[in-house]
């Protein structure tokens, strides 16, 4: 491997020897294709004509008026095909996998958005697809399980550990060690061993590339703040990436505090975790004093992960990005607020970002601009939110 896959002290390749040649093969393929004009033309074509890019940058006039401070723009990743930013990474990785001669893909999923995106592209590209999903998440997101099956994927419920996203990731890594030659692991976030954090970031960086251009066209300037939710952190790094060298732009990642960062029922890694090594990378993880990974919790299945991508850990270390924690209650309030005020139902993950904007926008001036990435649509969450509010609604 040419690059060492490090972001400051974070990142690396902490994986069993059995997988090393697989990630090195992936790295070599990525170096070969990342700047290849034909590959990029093909990818842009898929982005535009299959996923529906560029996604809209919408001026949320009613929210702006109501909050009475900074102008609020919404980056509408929820309008992508399959309803979330996940498709960007999936199209990129699967095109790469196809060029590598792989015929089968495997993926983990939390909320089901990444699994659905992978199953969708597998159907379109004629690849075999198997998705690993925590048993608890299968129950929380039953519709997405059926959606994946409808698309021709096989869904494996994962019963180990906490039966959520981290266990799904472990199960997918285990599956990959049993079958490597024809199989690519479509990792869904900016995490895992190098080169995954870099590959996923590069395919998601289209988000900030578009924001920059669109805002320039609309207002002729840079945003003052970009806010995105962070689990592993793929939509956040995609939203931040092209602004990292613009120091005037505040980059704010919103972690899931669950029932609060002073409780055990939280998934806020930067707020409550410490440095560790897990799932192939060195980064911050929620863990106990002996390094046992903590059973994290959030109302949002997509943010319910005990770690954070290594580049976020680095941006935190150097103070370039800020990471804040948003509770379930705050996220649900923002979920309802955006629905009622702007007629846009955000994913409960994205609602964490909306919530923080609601806190800071009123304190900012009217000529300032906040961009919130709406990473996904909230249809998948409606029944769960209804139950959270005490209604007896099941899908």
């Amino acid at each position: 491997m040419n690059t060492n896959g490090r972001y400051g002290i974070h990142g690396g390749q902490y994986i069993p020897e059995t997988l090393m040649n697989a990630v090195m093969e992936l790295d070599a393929a990525y170096r070969k294709f990342k700047d290849d004009p034909d590959f990029n033309r093909e990818l842009t074509d898929l982005f535009n004509n299959y996923a529906g890019r560029p996604s809209r940058l919408y001026y949320a006039e009613h929210v702006t008026k109501d909050l009475g401070g900074a102008q609020i723009f919404l980056k509408r990743e929820d309008l992508n095909h399959t309803g979330a930013h996940k498709i960007n990474n999936v199209l990129g990785q699967m095109l790469l996998a196809k060029h590598m001669g792989k015929t089968r893909v495997i993926a983990e999923t939390g909320a089901g958005q990444h699994g659905v995106a992978t199953a969708t592209v597998a159907a379109m590209m004629g690849m075999e697809c198997e998705v690993f999903m925590g048993r608890e998440d299968c129950e929380r997101q039953a519709l997405n399980v059926y959606r994946m099956r409808l698309l021709g994927a096989k869904v494996h419920p994962v019963d180990t550990g906490t039966a959520t996203l981290k266990d799904a990731v472990s199960a997918t890594f285990r599956e990959w060690t049993t079958r490597i030659a024809d199989t690519h692991y479509v990792l869904g976030s900016v995490m895992g061993p190098a080169p995954f954090p870099e590959i996923v970031r590069d395919f998601q960086a289209v988000i900030s590339k578009e924001i920059k251009q669109q805002l320039h066209d609309l207002c002729g300037k840079l945003p003052d703040a970009v806010i995105a939710c962070v689990g592993g952190g793929s939509n956040a790094i995609g939203s931040f990436y092209n602004f990292i060298n613009d120091p005037s732009v505040r980059l704010i990642g919103c972690e899931a505090a669950g029932r609060g960062i002073d409780t055990n029922e939280t998934a806020a890694t930067i707020s409550t975790g410490k440095l560790g090594i897990f799932h192939g990378m060195k980064s911050y993880f929620c863990q106990d004093e002996y390094g046992q990974i903590a059973p994290v919790y959030s109302i949002s299945a997509g943010l319910d992960y005990p770690g954070i991508g290594p580049e976020h850990a680095y941006l935190h270390d150097i103070g370039r990005a800020e990471y804040v924690a948003i509770t379930d209650d705050e996220a649900v309030e923002a979920f309802e607020y955006l629905s009622r005020t702007e007629g846009i139902i955000p994913a409960i993950e994205s609602a964490h970002a909306v919530s923080y904007a609601m806190k800071i926008a009123p304190k900012m001036s009217k000529d300032q601009i906040i961009v919130i990435t709406i990473s996904g649509r909230g249809d998948k969450d409606v029944a769960a939110i209804a139950r959270y509010k005490g209604e007896n609604l099941y899908e």
Partner: protein
Amino acid sequence: MNSIREAFQNGKAFIPFITCGDPTLETTKKLAIAMEEAGADIIELGIPFSDPTAEGPVIQDANIRALSNHITTDDIFAMVADLRKEVKVPLVFMTYANVVFSYGTEKFASECKRIGICGLILADVPFEEKKEFSSVCDKYGVDLISMIAPTSNDRIAVIAREAKGFLYCVSSLGVTGIRTDITTDVGAMISNAKKNTDIPCAIGFGISTPEQATEMASKSDGIIVGSAIVKICAKYGENCVPYVAEFVKTMKKAIS
């Protein structure tokens, strides 16, 4: 206390694996003593980890059983210090990077030296990441044991050249667990490794029967058996000691 090298001088080595604290640390201690008596040449002690990504279901469950009893790394060190007084065979730890890293690699390695642990296997630390651990282990005379796998190909030479203690040869693709068939050409892997190192090579992953033991031992300097033993521990719990001892005796005989 014998060295890892000495452990391979008495014919083919038999290396059993158990998870510390499965189901109690007292059982672990009794098991180690009984396994030495039954012919084990090195004993591999697993320090449980919440998310053991290289393990199949049998050892995953053992990790859960141990952790649900709130076994900690410090408890295991105390048990091993005690055990060391009663067994002569080399003891090696097997665990995951985060268990060592979060304890403090320096403190972990110095504890290993103090209690008489002579080797450390980290399932999620490949060649590229080993320096951060091996530089510290070397200081305390603890061998960081390297692994090669069926997918290692041209990496085998590089890994073997720097390997210490013994070289852990993974018999097949996938995670730990019992296999009815081992189809990899392990012999070729090992002869490749032997061109680059003179340390012993032991085969692990998937070995559960005396027949497999005989065959794998014929291609190597020793064999490592984990899941088959942990399965007996799961079945008999605290009463597993005589059953495990009997199994170890049978397996040692099969490779003698």
